[in-house]
């Protein structure tokens, strides 16, 4: 077992453990903080995949913006967090069953795929993933249209969120 594999296993166990805490812990502030831990684990996974830009974006956008937004939302709806009421609905076993069956189905389907256990080819020397990503996101021959649609979507979400959460009184 190489050092890379050991690092992967530690990070994967950390990520999955904190993800389990996100869905099971009673206190929602703690759940949001466990989500931050999970997102850090995913950022390390990106770094292991040689996607440094994605790791940085994960930390800046997910942890810096989305997780903080969650903590604000939890604090704004705090009154409802009585710790004596159950945090899961009474059909939780059915949800667990669906989750386990989905996992089994996914692993079973993946196992039959020929590329399942392939290893990564070395990245060619002189290949700059970040400049490639920037060029492809702005080149009309590649992905400029999805990029612009994503910016329109963000603007629409911004306007929509302000409109929905605005207190009209």
């Amino acid at each position: 077992m190489t050092g890379e594999q050991i690092i992967f296993l530690i990070v994967a166990l950390f990520t999955l453990g904190s993800a389990l805490m996100v869905v099971t812990t009673r206190n929602l502030i703690h759940a949001a903080l466990w989500l931050v831990a999970t997102l850090f684990g995913v950022a390390v996974i990106y770094a292991l995949l040689n996607a440094g830009f994605m790791a940085v974006v994960q930390v800046v956008v997910y942890i810096g913006a989305i997780a903080i937004l969650f903590i604000f939302a939890v604090m704004l709806t705090r009154k409802d967090l009585r710790d004596n009421t159950p945090q899961t609905n009474k059909n939780w076993w059915a949800g667990a069953l669906v989750a386990v069956l989905t996992f089994a189905g996914l692993v079973f389907t993946l196992q039959g795929w020929s590329g399942f256990s392939k290893t990564a080819a070395a990245i060619p020397s002189g290949f700059d993933a970040i400049s490639q990503l920037g060029e492809q996101l702005t080149s009309p021959a590649a992905y400029v249209l999805p990029f612009e649609v994503a910016s329109v979507l963000l603007l629409a979400a911004l306007v929509g969120a302000v409109y929905v959460a605005f207190n009209k009184k």
């Binding site: 996100v22 869905v23 995913v42 409802d80 059915a94 989905t102 290949f127």
Partner: protein
Amino acid sequence: MIPLSWYLILAAALFVIGLFGVLVRRNAVAILLGVELMLNAVNINLVSFWRYGDVSSMAGQVFAVIVFAVAAAEVSVGLALVISVYRRRNTVVADELDLMKW
């Protein structure tokens, strides 16, 4: 080297943990936390297929960037809805939001 299967199984496990959270949590904010976990699992898949496929085609990372944008839009509108609902009905428990139920 790490085989592709490890990343795919990690992503599958993260996805089903998020799915479990979405299915069983009563608090609407906690349901959105589960959705975030699922989106992250999808992103791990996209980036690992980029790394293990053709590195010079950036499609996997481009898709992951767009998933980031969609996730940000989803969470901002979702939390705005939760806050608006909380203001009007004084609850964020998904079971009690049955105004549009038959």
